[in-house]
């Protein structure tokens, strides 16, 4: 089967400092993967480089067998919440509808169909009642759910989510994890940069462990082993954490 996402020999640097070093990864369709690793491991960089948002020193990336630039209509990306200006004067529904912009193309404005779709996706995340709320008045968890709803509006086959559970409330976390499982059930491929090693084991079926280089990649129970984690988080030093 053609992988949903296939990464070969990906190397990315910030100036001279390597951020990702010769990464090879395949993500099967319908897989739910957590990308974990210490701070500065290149987790967010991986997603951005895959999408072509950062220049690559080397490497090729294919989504569903095609170059990324030709597959963007099948991929949704949820950036970290801090990446945007939440003081921008607009409301929740408006942001959710931005997920439909690619299908609309230049100049065409969103109409009743896009509005209905956006409301349906907001409802899936339990925030349809906030549709007319200004985004500056949202809590962190609500902001994150708006972003997830926007990704759903796009109706993609591959989701790339950058720390969607960082600093959110319990309800949002449960909703989001629930959503990931639903999406997987629908055959979607979901890749989540994640920081909480606890929930990885319960929710995800695969894990990728990064620390500039690829440390481990496989079923969650194999990757989330203390010995393997130690290798990524302590660079192989024989110490016990926590």
């Amino acid at each position: 089967m053609t992988p949903a996402l296939s990464i070969r020999d990906l190397t990315v640097t910030y100036g001279e400092k390597p951020a990702l070093w010769d990464i090879d990864l395949d993500f099967e369709p319908g897989s739910l993967t957590a990308v974990v690793g210490p701070n500065g491991a290149g987790k967010s960089t991986l997603l951005k480089a895959v999408l072509g948002l950062l220049p690559k020193v080397a490497g090729t990336v294919l989504a569903f067998g095609a170059p990324i630039a030709d597959s963007l209509d099948r991929i949704a990306y949820v950036p970290q919440r801090s990446a945007v200006d939440w003081d921008f004067p607009t409301d929740v529904l408006d942001v959710a509808m931005m997920g439909a912009y690619r299908k609309l193309g230049w100049f065409r404005r969103p109409g009743a169909a896009e509005r209905a779709k956006a409301l349906e996706c907001l409802d899936r995340l339990g925030i349809a009642d906030l549709s007319r709320r200004q985004i500056s008045q949202l809590s962190g968890g609500q902001q994150q759910r708006v972003f997830l709803a926007r990704a759903l509006v796009q109706d993609p086959d591959l989701f790339l989510l950058d720390e969607p559970l960082a600093g959110v409330d319990v309800t949002t976390e449960e909703r989001a994890l629930d959503l990931f499982r639903q999406l997987q059930g629908q055959g979607k491929t979901v890749i989540v940069v994640h920081h909480d090693l606890e929930t990885v084991r319960d929710v995800f079926d695969r894990a990728v462990l990064l620390n500039v280089r690829l440390v481990a990649n496989g079923p969650v129970r194999d990757v989330m082993e203390p010995a393997v984690l130690r290798k990524a988080y302590l660079g192989g030093r024989d110490q016990v954490v926590c």
Partner: protein, 366 residues
């Protein structure tokens, strides 16, 4: 049309065009770009004057827009990477462009008198005098045509690129992935801002052009957080200040553009002070309320913590609040009075006792 009516129309239309162009400039936090553009037009105007061999509105406009675009390109190029911040780049580029203009004028037109006041302040009072003529027929004041066209162009720009401007300003990365090239949208906006500045510049001068672009939006931002309302309010503030400024200037026989700028400043100060939610007064009152509420909550929690302990009769007294919590006596008295008003606390001799309601408040906090 009488002279003052024409001036009022030109001022109002110019302000409307500026307010429309200014919204995304301010929301994108690029307001100072307008300053750079307005001071860089001179070399473009000079070049156009030489090429067209005399004053020509179309050539002048194109030349000035080109100079504005060159300035923005220079700023963007210099501030790429980490060596120079955008504000420093602006500070380097526009004086250079202005200097090129000034030197070019003194070299090429040594016998021509360039009125520096007109560059900085414009002279809207001359608006009725310069006429658009074609084959001997008079089509009315040039400034009226210019400012009217500006409003139409800017309104059409916002109507066609509304959703693109929105996503690029809010979330550039997602815009890129949604197929809306941020680079194209930004340059379209910069071009419109250049054109707007050129038209505003000839009517009201370089300084007020910036004011008309930025100040109405800044006022409107203090009054609303809804985008459609923000557009309407920016228009109302810009046009309102221009018309009011014009009338005041006529009444007191002072500079029209100066008065418009002063009215705008006054409006901003008023909004900054008394705007319903974001004004200084509202913010101050809300901070006061927060602080008072926090005091009462602290009091209730403190009383709850020592409730039923041996030290209760010592800890839960007004004296103790003053001694141990470090509160001034009037402050402590006020907190106790508030807590009693809320029905959270009652006095048992000198000892503060929680009511049932107070207890549930304390529990909800802890």
């Amino acid at each position: 049309m009488t002279g003052p009516t024409i001036v009022a129309l030109v001022a109002g239309l110019t302000a409307a065009g500026c307010a429309l162009a200014g919204v995304y400039l301010v929301l994108g936090r690029r307001a100072m770009m307008a300053d750079a553009i307005s001071h860089s037009l001179l070399p473009g105007l000079v070049a156009a004057y030489l090429l067209a061999q005399g004053p020509n509105i179309l050539a002048g406009t194109l030349g000035a827009v080109a100079a504005g675009l060159a300035t923005v390109a220079g700023v963007e190029w210099l501030s790429r990477g980490r060596r120079l911040h955008a504000d420093s780049a602006i500070g380097v580029v526009f004086p250079f462009m202005f200097a090129v203009g000034v030197l070019w004028v003194s070299l090429s037109f040594s016998n021509l008198h360039i009125d520096t006041d007109a560059v900085l302040f414009g002279e809207i009072a001359f608006a009725p005098i310069e006429r658009l003529t074609w084959e001997g027929r008079d089509f009315g004041p040039v400034a009226l045509w210019q400012s009217g066209t500006l409003v139409i162009i800017n309104a059409l720009f916002l109507l066609t690129l509304g959703k693109e401007l929105k996503i690029v300003t809010f979330d550039e990365t997602s815009a890129d992935l949604q197929g809306v090239s941020p680079v194209r949208v930004k340059w379209a906006l910069v071009t419109v801002v250049c054109l707007t500045t050129v038209v505003a510049f000839s009517a009201v001068g370089a300084v007020l052009a910036v004011g008309l672009l930025v100040a109405p939006v800044a006022v409107a931002q203090l009054l609303t957080r809804r985008l459609p309302v923000l557009f309407v309010m920016s228009l109302v503030v810009g046009v309102g200040a221009s018309l009011a400024g014009h009338l005041l200037a006529l009444a007191y026989d002072v500079s029209i553009s100066g008065t418009i700028a002063a009215v705008m400043g006054g409006l901003f100060l008023a909004a900054w002070t008394v705007a319903p939610e974001q004004g200084w007064v509202a913010q101050w009152a809300s901070r006061k309320r927060q602080a008072a509420k926090l005091k009462v909550q602290t009091l209730v929690v403190h009383v709850a913590e020592h409730r039923g302990t041996q030290s209760q009769s010592v800890e839960n007294t007004l004296e103790h609040l003053v001694d141990e919590l470090g509160w001034a006596r009037p402050e402590a008295e006020k907190a106790v009075r508030r807590a009693r008003d809320y029905g959270w606390i009652r006095l048992d001799g000198p000892t503060l006792e929680l009511t049932d309601q107070g207890l549930s408040v304390a529990r909800s906090i802890l």
